[in-house]
Symmetry: C2
Subunit: 332 residues, 2 copies
DNA sequence: CTGTTAGCGCATTCAT
DNA sequence: ATGAATGCGCTAACAG
């Protein structure tokens, strides 16, 4: 393996000049630059990253800790982050905390040890409840999850608003007994519950919300139980794609016609939601924009560590499909 | 930040002893060991990874380059790899090549620069066609994609067999005109086409296979075209989850009753395939096992760089659902 | 504009 | 079992 000194000899210059050229620093003549590049190419030289990082005390690496990589939402976000990061000469370490605070702590520790330039994180509720960006040795930007009082840069959906609009849509379509199944494990779920409750209250309707683990099976069971009750809901609303999947399973199992007997709505415009029978009405999140905004925020924070905390709040898009058609009630 | 010399002073020993203790090397008295550990804890010492890597010439890092992170198959595989890797003291760099040979090359280059211990890779067809593990400076294990002659460790599904069994199942259920939509961009798709063709030939039926890009929209369009033909197929079979999604969209758009008018089958037991109306019959892949086997192979290869090339071939599981019910034909 | 040189923090000889 | 000393390959400070 060629080292920097070999390149220097080959080009007939000093190692300092080689370093300058390869780091794109100014203060090198065109001639030297060209010769160094030729020599580097001829020797197929690659700088040793470990040495460079040790010496420069920079890693040009950002960490991305998502809470569940199986969730297509995070998959999309991570694509945006990666794309942008590499464009800015940053590498990405992608980690999956799996909604597990222990794993999350492990990875944050790892980030510290790796001496990353910064981290983008979708925190568990436990972590978020006491989160302060200043507790970390590196800049942190939160995505998807953030409470109003959290002292950290963040990019989130306007969850309250989105859930409010979705609920409102169901109400407008004539549904009254609207049950909400939401993920209790995240700030996002709680905020969406707020929006739902608000809309129901404004309409003078009774809210019926179930806090669940963000697991398909739990949503399915909860939906089955609700639908088996004496006064089953006319509409089911889920706070994210996973729970929506569980709701869909339950409705299908019971063979209830949708939307005639049961309307369905949820979050996340996943590939399959327009596939199931009447097509599901959902709030679509601007996933790519979210990832984009997050890394933008992070890069700026890295450049300006002491700037004021900033928050980017994006709006969800209501996509209406057959599952929330106008309710037809027998005339009184 | 505490450095190794601080720990040494605090413990009243030399840096060499500290290094030995923290690397878990033998040749240290119990007493010293305890004092070093206490000192490290007291100072909240973390070894500088850049320095350690520079000096030791090891990174304890493995690279995982998947061809499409949005594909749930790879998401599952990556979970298995991560779990195992951390258990073995290896860190994982997860990269998404997006089925793009350029990105793939970029990441392989990155792996080289990062000096990883080894790489797990699902190669594009272009790369695979001329792939030799010996061309790389690090051990490589292929996952999901591999040709018979490829000189590299690999973990794959028995694609020919799986497709053969799936086709056979359709034939047994009375379907004759069975069209196959497969991803032309991967070895996997081609092998599944082999299995399909073989089964059709054995049954004396004419194969009708369409090579497609692994994109939902293309599968949808192809399926629409097939179904609009003068003699439309009685069954559609897709070579992976994405294409199956496209097929499902087409069938739904046309409002064709499934399985009466059109049977459907495919690969990958994704969450939604049992959700769509009659439930889709699929071949399920043992994704976690695949990831597990891959890293197992890699770790052994790292330990034994010159051992013979090995291949793990796993069997797919046929999961029968409503979409392939017995075909009812009018008596002749 | 260019070269010389001193470490970055650690693992690893080689003594003892 | 322990410590002193060396240098991994590079960047950055400084001198010229």
């Amino acid at each position: 393996m060629a080292r920097i000194i070999d390149v220097a000899k080959h080009a007939g210059v000093s190692v300092a000049s080689v370093s300058r050229v390869l780091s794109g620093l100014p203060g090198v003549s065109e001639d030297t630059r060209a010769r160094v590049q030729a020599a580097a190419k001829a020797l197929n030289y690659r700088p040793d990253l470990a040495a460079r990082r040790l010496r420069s005390r920079r890693t040009d690496t950002i960490g991305l800790i998502v809470s569940d990589i199986r969730n297509p939402f995070f998959t999309e976000v991570s694509r945006a982050v990666e794309d942008m990061a590499y464009e800015h000469g940053q590498r990405v370490i992608l980690c999956n905390a799996d909604e597990d605070p222990e794993k999350e702590a492990f990875y944050l520790e790892l980030m510290h040890n790796e001496n990353v330039s910064g981290v983008i994180l979708s925190p568990t509720l436990q972590l978020l409840s006491q989160f302060r960006a200043s507790d970390y040795t590196f800049p942190v930007v939160l995505v998807d999850r953030c409470e109003r009082s959290t002292e950290a840069d963040a990019v989130v959906l306007d969850n309250v608003d989105a859930a409010y609009r979705l609920t409102e849509h169901l109400i407008e379509r004539g549904h009254r007994r609207i049950a909400f199944l939401y993920g209790a494990g995240s700030a996002t779920g709680q905020q969406r519950n707020e929006g739902y409750s608000l809309a129901m209250a404004r309409a003078g309707l009774a809210a019926q919300a179930s806090a669940l683990r963000p697991v398909v099976a739990d949503a399915r069971d909860a939906a089955l139980e609700l639908l088996a009750g004496r006064q089953p809901p006319e509409a089911l609303m889920a706070s994210n794609g996973l729970l929506l999947l569980g709701v869909a399973e339950a409705v299908r199992e019971l063979g209830l016609p949708c939307p005639e007997r049961i309307a369905v709505a949820g979050f996340d415009d996943l590939p399959w939601v327009r596939l199931v029978d009447p097509g599901f009405t959902v709030i679509a999140q601007p996933t790519y924009d979210i990832g984009h905004a997050a890394i933008e925020l992070l890069l700026q924070r890295i450049a300006q560590p002491s700037q004021a905390v900033r928050r980017v709040v994006l709006r969800g898009e209501l996509i209406v499909r057959g599952s929330t058609a106008q309710r037809v009630t027998a005339p009184a």
